[in-house]
């Protein structure tokens, strides 16, 4: 089956899921779609530029808290405004953070991003009056395309309009990222991933391009973070904790960072597998740790690498 057919089938299944799948399974699609948006951005940095961030929960948190502030403090309920504000704030924070981080590579880059993530986590945890501390902040039900939808029950809202809204955002984010990685800019990022020294001598300003990729990936993560808020109706600091950053790196590795759709596949498998394993055993992290070890050792191309006949191109660790 060609890639396009697989994509069409996946999209068709996603469209039909709320109509044919049990409600609980359809609800699980919501965090999947939110993480998938964030992972499209993370993989621009990871798979296409060769930089592994261990602090992207910072931007998930910024997106989610932006929505919480706007809906519960500023009484702004438009989801479109929330998404634009989350993207703008993500870019605003990513600009100086990225400018510092992209001066370093490999473990130093990873640790710096982790450090900034922990600074944000501590901020939202300790500034109780502003953020609600460990209790978090309510993310009130947003209006979609100008419709308040207050008359719907929460479940009907989530598996109905909000589900399709999230799917539309994911499709749009995918199309934009597809365009970016196939642009001259995307090619320049790949040269930097493969050989920054050579890229520099071809006139490609490595630090500048890494910074662009960092900011774009932060925008995607912030939009993903904003989408995560409405299903739970509450945003708390665990969303910005380092284990979240670890989870999204895990999802990327699980799906395969050398493939465009690998991280999206990784997010899907992670969400459903986590739910299933958690329902069977309490020690799900143990199982996931073992899965991660198996993937790194035996399938560095991730699930997408196993499904694709061609060997995956991978940035050297």
């Amino acid at each position: 089956m060609s890639g396009r057919l697989v994509l069409a089938a996946a999209l068709g299944a996603a469209v039909l899921a709320p109509l044919v799948a049990p409600t609980y399974q359809a609800l699980l699609m919501l965090p999947f779609m939110a993480y998938a948006v964030a992972l499209l951005g993370l993989n621009l940095l990871f798979g296409y530029t060769g930089l592994v961030s261990f602090g992207h929960a910072l931007f998930l948190g910024i997106g989610a808290y932006t929505g919480a502030f706007l809906t519960s403090v500023f009484k702004v309920r438009s989801m479109e405004v929330i998404l634009v504000a989350a993207a703008a704030l993500g870019a605003l924070v990513a600009a100086p953070v990225g400018a510092l981080c992209v001066r370093y590579v490999k473990i130093y880059f990873g640790m710096l991003t982790l450090a900034f993530g922990m600074v944000f986590y501590t901020f939202v945890l300790k500034f109780y009056r502003l953020t609600g501390g460990d209790e978090g902040m309510p993310f009130l039900r947003p209006a979609l395309l100008g419709r308040s939808l207050e008359g719907l029950s929460k479940i009907d809202y989530l598996v109905g309009p909000y589900y399709y809204y999230s799917l539309a955002v994911l499709v749009l984010a995918t199309l934009v990222m597809w365009r970016i990685v196939r642009s001259p800019f995307g090619l320049c990022l790949k040269t930097i991933r493969d050989n920054p020294t050579k890229a520099e001598t071809l006139g490609i300003g490595v630090a500048r391009y890494r910074w662009y990729a960092f900011v774009i990936s932060a925008v995607y993560a912030a939009v993903g973070g904003a989408l995560l808020g409405p299903p739970t109706g509450n945003v708390d600091p665990t969303l910005a904790y380092w284990t979240q950053s670890g989870n999204i790196v895990f999802m990327t590795l699980l799906g395969g960072f050398a493939s465009f759709f690998g991280p999206v596949l990784g997010a899907f498998v992670f969400i459903y597998l986590q739910d299933w394993v958690m329902s069977i055993v309490p020690f799900w992290r143990l199982i996931f740790g073992a899965i991660l070890a198996v993937i790194v050792i035996f399938a560095p191309g991730g699930l997408a690498g196993l499904l694709t006949p061609r060997p995956a191109a991978a940035p050297r660790p």
């Binding site: 642009s183 493969d194 050579k198 490609i204």
Partner: protein
């Protein structure tokens, strides 16, 4: 005068790799830099191309002081280079590698939403250079799968795809077979004429190549210029024969 270096010094701790090197390159020249191992040849190329900052001295390119500018800015100004140890983008194909150089030359690297595949100027520019260097048949082959000679050729070809005014080649034929050496040199000479490269500087150990292609030879020894002149004068220079050329002169 296209390039001038004056009083270049480069210290690595207490080791002096370049000790007051001055040189001038005119348009139309093919200049070879020779010298024994440790003479400072690669350091000189790295300083001239902005990979290393000189400890002292100045570099001017077309009467503009370019001392301390990084390689990316120098590349955009018209100075390109290839490396002694072959530098490729392993997971990119031959065509993608050359496209990256063309994209950079045309200043289109920040086009986020433009289609690379639909950019005819980039596509044709890359194919032209691939054909020029005999890589047209292999344009869809990932660089890491090329034989060593072709990797070297691709490294050189990507520098030419920038259409530079000045190109610096650090041992363009090192690590390749004798047959490949000739192919590489013939390709780069013909590409230079076609593309309009105004001057070439190469570091080279193979004296047959040096004397066959150079208009002028600069001999370095212990970080200093030992001699600077046309091939015949260099071959007749006893100091150069004793320290660098040696056997070739005696054989000749």
């Amino acid at each position: 005068m296209i390039l001038r270096a004056e009083g270049l010094r480069k210290l690595y701790g207490e080791v002096c790799a370049l000790d007051g090197v001055s040189l001038a390159i005119d348009a139309g020249e093919f200049v070879s830099i020779i010298g024994p191992n440790g003479a400072g040849k690669s350091t000189l190329i790295n300083v001239l191309t902005g990979v290393l900052r000189p400890t002292a001295g100045a570099v001017t390119f077309k009467d503009r002081d370019v001392s301390g500018l990084g390689p990316a800015r120098l590349a955009r100004l018209g100075i390109a280079r290839s490396f002694q140890l072959v530098q490729i983008f392993p997971d990119l194909t031959v065509l993608e590698t050359l496209q990256a150089a063309v994209v950079s030359r045309l200043g289109r690297g920040t086009r986020l939403f433009a289609s690379l595949a639909a950019d005819r100027e980039v596509q044709e520019g890359a194919i032209d250079v691939a054909e020029l260097f005999g890589l047209g048949e292999k344009r869809h082959v990932p660089a890491k799968q090329l034989p060593q000679g072709d990797k070297k050729l691709l490294d050189v070809a990507s520098a030419f795809a920038l259409r530079p005014e000045l190109i610096l080649l650090d041992e363009p034929t090192s690590g390749v077979s004798t047959a490949d050496k000739t192919t590489i040199m013939e390709s780069l000479v013909s590409a230079s004429k076609r593309i309009g490269v105004r001057a070439i500087i190469q570091v080279e150990h193979d004296m047959d190549i040096v004397f066959a292609y150079s208009d002028r030879i600069i001999a370095l020894h212990e970080g200093r210029v030992l001699a600077d002149g046309p091939p015949a004068a260099i071959e007749a220079d006893r100091r150069v024969v004793d320290t660098v050329v040696g056997r070739r002169a005696r054989a000749g």
